[in-house]
């Protein structure tokens, strides 16, 4: 085990997989010479050369489409999209291209590519650089979507994603890059599709992902002081969704709060609530509470941004309502 920053863990995953498999290559804006605006790809150009670490023009739509077909033709590209806010430019390539070919072409092709990006608010980056667009990509058949909350999962999931024969959307969070935790040594892999119990509890299940896991853990502390025992589930994988772990937790706690940093309406939290409706209705003693970002563009000024984003206080309040 070694203490590592989330960004370092990602970099270690990229480096190890590039060393292991010469078909793995990286491309994206400012990732080569500069090493990425969040420095996740720092020094990889020097180690692996300009064919395997490529700076690109600002052409997200084409870059994403290229990842799809490059992956079909025998290499394993890892594309960095600098901000999740630019994912709208990738949706055609994801939904009308990557999504369809394995099925529609009757299994003739696989597409082992990873699209890494980072989202989230709280940094005063404004309406076009702060979004969490989990629902946008999680809706697309044929994609896997992961969103690690810890350095350990960042490393283990990224390595698993690169080895996956199908497209994986890898959602990072700008406020997590500097968070540090223990990362297992060696060839650490985390299976895509399995949630993690981040904190055990028996009074209410708080189901979250990415940075909202950290906020949920803080909320659980607040609640513990009030005598409410919260179990925190870190989904890690948004698609496929580990419904079994959710169901088992609610069978124990009978109350649930779902948390997602995206907008509320038609957001990822809606899927979680609907899933619980379908898999654990009889276990519920109260309606599922949904915590999400207000349905408006994310404003710049600090008091405004704080008001619209979910946080530990809002999660704790929702949990109190759930168990009331």
């Amino acid at each position: 085990m070694a203490m590592m920053r989330y960004a370092e863990a990602l970099r270690a995953a990229l480096r190890e997989e590039m060393q292991r498999d010469s078909n793995v290559w990286l491309f994206g804006e400012d990732i080569a010479v500069y090493g990425g605006v969040f420095k996740v790809t720092k020094d990889l150009l020097a180690e692996f050369g300009p064919e395997r670490v490529r700076d690109t023009p600002i052409s997200e739509q084409t870059l994403t489409a290229m990842a799809v077909t490059a992956a079909m033709a025998g290499t394993r590209p890892v594309l960095e999209i600098m901000y999740a806010d630019f994912l709208p430019l990738s949706i055609d390539a994801l939904m009308n291209q990557a999504s369809i070919y394995n099925y529609i072409w009757n299994g003739q092709v696989t597409m082992p590519f990873v699209l890494r990006t980072q989202g989230g608010g709280g940094a005063g980056a404004g309406a076009q650089h702060s979004k969490s667009l989990d629902a946008l990509v999680a809706h697309i058949p044929g994609l896997k979507v992961v969103a690690p909350a810890t350095a350990a999962d960042a490393k283990g999931l990224l390595k698993a994603a690169i080895r996956d024969d199908h497209p994986v959307i890898f959602l990072e969070h700008k406020l997590l890059y500097n968070s540090r935790d223990e990362v297992p040594d060696g060839d650490h892999l985390v299976e895509i599709g399995k949630a993690r119990i981040a904190r055990e509890g028996h009074g209410v299940s708080i189901i979250a992902s990415s940075r909202m896991v950290i906020e949920s853990l803080k909320a659980a502390e607040l609640l513990a002081d009030e005598g409410i025992s919260a179990e925190v589930i870190d989904l890690r994988s948004l698609r496929p969704l580990d419904r079994d772990t959710i169901r088992a937790s609610i069978a124990k706690t009978h109350h649930a709060v779902v948390v997602n940093e995206g907008w509320r309406f038609c957001g990822y939290g809606a899927e979680l609530s609907a899933t619980i409706m379908e898999t654990a209705f009889d276990e519920l003693d109260a309606p599922v509470e949904r915590v999400a970002t207000h349905d408006i563009p994310i404003p710049y000024s600090e008091p405004l941004e704080n008001a619209v984003l979910p946080d530990a206080a809002k999660i704790a309040a929702a949990a109190r309502r759930a168990v009331a």
Binding site: T62, A65, N102, L143, L241, D244
Partner: protein
Amino acid sequence: MRNSPTIDEQIEMLRRMIAVRHLEERLGELHKAGKTRGPIHRCDGQEAVGIGATAMLDAADLLTSTHRGHAHYVGKGVGLHPIIAEILGRSTGACAGRAGHMLIADAANGLLGGNAIVGGGIPAATGFAVSLQMRNRADGGARVAMCLFGDGAAQTGICHESMNIAALWKLPVVFVLEHNQYGLTAHHSTQSSVPDLVVRADGYGMPGESVDGNDITAVYRAVATAVDRARRGEGPSLVEAKTYRMVGFSTSDVGGYQSADDLAAWRERDPIVLARRSLAASVSPAQLDAVDAEARAAVDAAVEQALADPLPGFVDHAPSAPYYAGAV
């Protein structure tokens, strides 16, 4: 002349053009008879582009096509029966009936594949070219990627982005622009700010050549030159082939926007007639008639077989498949 097709190659290309024409005639009938679903996009009059531009490709070269891909499919070596069976939605189709006529793919023959998002094949071929470039460098190969796309598709943003990247990275890709004067029903003068799209190659520092798209030998020569360049690792080229679509944009076209004069003038320049005429000096009419008859017979046989084939049954995807969203 450099890169000229041999007589045998010309005969083979003629055979393929006739097969495509007859295939589309049969598809037109099958559509009227309610045997196909959705629209069918025919390319009558444009066959020389799809067939001529693909004739020098190997199976290891990767081609992307469009919604109007029958000539591309046949040119790339896909069998007539898998094409027709796919369009008839049969389990024996190239994609077991899942794809339909606009999305046919055949990995073994390097067709990957049809694309009904206009322009979609352009970044797709560019992406293929990155992998092929890396693999060529690793194993000394000389594989290339190619996209065939329309004058409508040339106005899409991805066309610009792809050409810029292809030129920047000297990718082994050939851009073949099939300029048939229309995007669906819209005349190119309402779609393109310039009549000759080949001028845009300069904007990427890439060679561009414009050819008569109804002269299959001219198409072959220009594209073969571009393919050679790509195989040598010298980067992409643009070939613009000027042609004309002699039928509606699809079986659902109710017409009214093509002028009778234009249609008549272009029918005079039917690429099949031109190809036959240019072979007349070297090949006997009887031999050409035989090519014609064989091509048609092959299509008819494939149609009969496909009509007798079964429809697929739906099988839910396994939990291991990429489409699995989690246990319900």
